[in-house]
């Protein structure tokens, strides 16, 4: 739920958390489609951020992403979420092939005092649109994923966060000597999200 008045473009903490979690949902769907983790026919086109976005129709993936977004929204409202990483791994070997890193900077004053900020919704939408375009165009430089892949989502939270029932502690699933590409960022004045994709080095790909 985004509590914002159209006239003044006031952004509250809850609204910003909803924007960010919604963005992550659509970004995850876009990544899964563009990287071919799931077949194209399992995706359906919808309009969002002024762009045609693709959403999966797989019930399992849908429920997974919706549960994930609910938890991310809760952590964002508490100001406890530092980073969200979507990891793409080889199904056969479990090797991490790509890491889509979404770093989050939270304005602690808003979390502590409950104040709100002002920013134009159009501006936020424009920034998110730029990121979505970059995700879509990432296939031009990212290596092809020829083998069947699976995905997972990691959440970097504060140390004092209580681990929910459906979550477990995990390792960071890092890539050794990755290539990194920094994408655009968007800022709601409460949460600033930086996007970065790291993938396995091309030389290592060729050696293998």
């Amino acid at each position: 739920m985004v509590s914002r008045t159209v006239a003044k473009d006031i952004i509250t903490l809850r609204g910003s958390a909803a924007i960010v979690s919604e963005f992550f949902g659509y970004a995850a769907n876009s990544i899964l489609y563009n990287r071919g983790v799931y077949p194209e026919e399992s995706f359906v086109k919808v309009k969002k951020y002024g762009l045609p976005m693709l959403l999966t129709q797989d019930d399992g993936v849908k429920s997974f992403i919706s549960n994930l977004n609910a938890q991310l929204s809760e952590w964002l409202e508490a100001g406890k979420l530092q980073r969200v990483v979507l990891v793409i791994m080889s199904k056969a070997t479990g090797e991490v092939l790509e890491r889509w890193n979404f770093s989050i900077e939270t304005d602690n004053e808003v979390v502590e005092k409950g104040v709100s900020r002002e920013k134009s919704d159009k501006e936020i939408m424009r920034e998110i649109q730029a990121i979505m375009r970059q995700i879509a165009s990432s296939i031009t430089y990212l290596p092809c994923l020829d083998e069947p892949c699976v995905f997972d989502v990691l959440a970097y939270t504060d140390k004092d966060v209580a681990v929910p029932f459906t979550w477990i502690e995990s390792d960071a699933k890092l890539i050794a000597n990755p290539q990194m590409v920094k994408l655009h960022s968007f800022d709601t004045k409460i949460h600033k999200v930086d996007t970065l994709v790291s993938y396995k080095n091309d030389d290592e790909w060729e050696e293998q």
Partner: protein
């Protein structure tokens, strides 16, 4: 004040003749002397006359007197006017004198100011020179320090290089030693293999000998058995003979009692005795053979033992020789090691080598740290050198500015001196004029006009001079102000420039540092590193994979279940078909059936558990927790007991019970 002393009284004619020449039209001043000029003689003749002439002369005289009186009045009025003018001129001269004195004072003040300025300039020059010298000294000191630091750095580099060289040498030696050790190991392993092969050969030889000896022993045993059999036969014969002997002796005793004719029995007895002796001899031979056989066997065993010992000894001898050779080699190598260790300073035994390596590594690390520190100091020195150079440049600029200022001031001084010279010239002129004016007023008539002109000229010149002086002063002040402003501006600009350059350099350094930090952080960020003190990584349980895995396990369990059920059915059919075939078969089959049933039960339990896990993981958390039973269980197991495994175990048990009981 023009004083005119009346000329001495002369004759009228002379006076008139003297006064006859009209005053010059230009009204110039004629200076009267006490010695008037000689009167021309012709003029006195004009006044020699008769009575009529006297009357005429009287009338003329009266007329002349009246005219003279009129002229006198005129002259008096003129004199008064001139006196007024004179007083005015005197006042003006006083003014001019005052002005002159004022200008003199101003000149003196300007001179003093100039002196003060010169002194200030000199002081500033001296200060700037001192500063310059100090900066040069500091620059030289910094250069010296830089050279020292460079030397230290070179020394450190050379020491680091030498340490590296030593380390490389030591590493090479170590590698050589390790190679030699490996060679020795290989050699020893080869020797060991050789010894093993030799031992195998010897073992094979021994085995062959053993077999031979076994064969021999078998043969000997067979022989001994044969001999034993012979012996037994012989013993039997001996016993028989003894028995016969006893019978014969009995018979003999009985015969001796009966006195039977021994002639027929004696050869028999003898024969029997001979046979007995033969048998005894045979028995003794057999005993001897037996003892000899036993001795032979003992000897054989001893021989074998001795042979074995001999072979062992030979082997050990050969090994000993080889060991001695290897020992000699090892001793040589050990001596070479020891010599090498002696070459290495600070190492007395092999255990010191790693310590020495560690110390060398520490030394290398320390030297690199020192190098880093020296580099940091060098950079600091470079920075200070740059600052000193900037200061030097500033000082040079300031010195140049001071020089320019000094030149400007010199030019000003020259101008002021010129002005002063001009003013002194004018003052001299004024003084000369005043002196001239102080002379007697005898020549008033001509002098007054000349005085007027002179005064006017003086006034004009004074006015011009004043104007010029004012203009010069104004220009001087303006130029001074301009110069001061420019100097101040230049100083401020220089200071600002220096500050800005320093700020720019510091900002550049900070920018470089920040860029390096940013790149490091970005690499860490992209890599996914995090601080475990502040952050933890959580992962949502991936129900998709879990579901797939669970499905796979379910499928596998189901296949196993089907297989076991089929087996069970087959066994039961077999049992039904062959019910009377042996108790063992029945028991075996029943056991197998029991086992299969147990497997089926376990598989079904596993399937139930997997299904419950899937149902647990795929259900929505909210719907799940909203159920009263589950919320109660959550309160009990998770919140109170703080144990998730207990909760899941309870859930599985309850679901299993539900499914099995239902």
């Amino acid at each position: 004040m023009i004083l005119r002393t009346p000329p001495p009284k002369k004759r009228r004619g002379e006076a008139i003749a003297a006064e006859s020449p009209p005053p010059p039209s230009d009204r110039r001043l004629v200076i009267y002397d006490h010695n008037p000029p000689p009167v021309p003689p012709d003029s006195s003749d004009q006044f020699l006359c008769t009575y009529q002439c006297r009357q005429m002369v009287k009338a003329d005289f009266v007329d002349a007197l009246t005219t003279a009186e009129k002229q006198l009045h005129d002259y008096q009025s003129k004199l008064e006017a001139l006196n007024q003018n004179l007083s005015k001129a005197e006042a003006e001269s006083k003014k001019f004198r005052d002005q002159f004195l004022y200008t003199e004072q101003e000149l003196v003040a300007a001179k003093r100011r100039e002196q003060v300025l010169q002194e200030q300039l000199l002081k500033e020059l001296n200060d700037s020179q001192q500063r310059f010298r100090k900066q040069l000294q500091s620059y030289n000191e910094l250069e010296l320090k830089l050279q020292n630091e460079m030397n230290l750095r070179e020394k450190a580099e050379s020491s680091a290089e030498s340490a590296d060289g030593k380390a490389t040498l030591l590493e090479r030696k170590l590698s050589q030693l390790s190679e030699s050790i490996e060679r020795e190991k290989r050699h020893l392993s080869d020797e060991l293999a050789q010894t093993k092969s030799e031992s195998k050969l010897s073992i094979s030889r021994i085995n062959a000998d053993l077999e031979r000896m076994k064969c021999k022993a078998k043969n000997a045993e067979e022989e001994s058995e044969l001999l034993k059999e012979q012996l037994e036969g012989v013993m039997k014969q001996f016993n028989e003979c003894l028995h016969q002997k006893s019978e014969v002796e009995k018979k003999l005793s009985s015969f001796t009692l009966q006195d039977v004719t021994p002639t027929e029995n004696n050869p028999l007895i003898k024969h029997l005795q001979e046979e007995l002796r033969n048998y005894e001899s045979e028995v003794q031979e057999a005993r001897k053979l037996k003892s000899s056989h036993e001795n032979i066997e003992l000897l054989k065993e001893k021989l074998l033992e001795e042979k074995g010992r001999k072979e062992r000894a030979e082997l050990q001898l050969s090994k000993l020789q080889e060991l001695q050779l290897s020992l000699n080699n090892l001793e040589n190598e050990l001596s070479s090691w020891k010599l090498m260790m002696k070459d290495i300073p600070g190492v007395s035994c092999h255990e010191d080598i790693p310590v020495k390596f560690a110390t060398l590594q520490k030394e290398v690390i320390d030297s690199t740290m020192k190098m880093g520190e020296a580099n940091a100091r060098l950079k600091q020195m470079e920075v200070s050198l740059d600052l000193a150079q900037l200061g030097k440049q500033n000082a040079e600029a300031e010195a140049a500015l001071a020089k320019e200022k000094a030149e400007v001031l010199k030019s000003e001084i020259k101008r002021i001196e010129l002005m002063l010279s001009m003013v002194t010239d004018e003052r001299d002129k004024f003084r000369s004029i005043i002196n001239e004016l102080k002379k007697p007023k005898n020549e008033e008539m001509t002098d007054e006009a000349a005085n007027m002109t002179i005064v006017q000229e003086l006034e004009l010149s004074l006015v011009n001079k004043e104007f010029v002086i004012k203009e010069l002063e104004n220009s001087l002040c303006q130029q001074k102000e301009l110069n001061d402003r420019q100097h101040n501006e230049i100083r401020l600009l220089n200071e600002r420039l220096n500050d800005e350059t320093r700020r720019i350099k510091s900002l550049e350094r900070e920018g470089d540092r920040l860029c390096s930090e940013i790149s490091l952080l970005e690499s860490k960020l992209g890599h996914g590193d995090f601080s475990s003190a502040n952050t933890k990584v959580l992962r949502m349980v991936n129900t998709l994979a879990l579901g797939n895995d669970a499905k796979q396990t379910i499928e596998a369990l189901q296949t196993e279940l089907q297989k076991t059920k089929e087996r069970l059915q087959a066994v039961e059919e077999l049992k039904s078909q062959s019910g009377d075939t042996g108790k063992l078969v029945d028991s075996y089959i029943s056991e197998k059936i029991l086992k299969l049933k147990e497997q089926i039960a376990t598989l079904e339990k596993r399937e139930e558990r997997v299904l419950t896990c899937i149902s647990l993981s795929t259900q929505q958390a909210n719907n799940y927790t909203s159920q009263p039973e589950i919320s109660r269980q959550i309160e009990i197991f998770i919140r109170k007991m703080n144990s998730i495994p207990a909760f899941t175990a309870n859930l599985t048990v309850e679901s299993f019970n539900r499914r099995t009981l239902s």
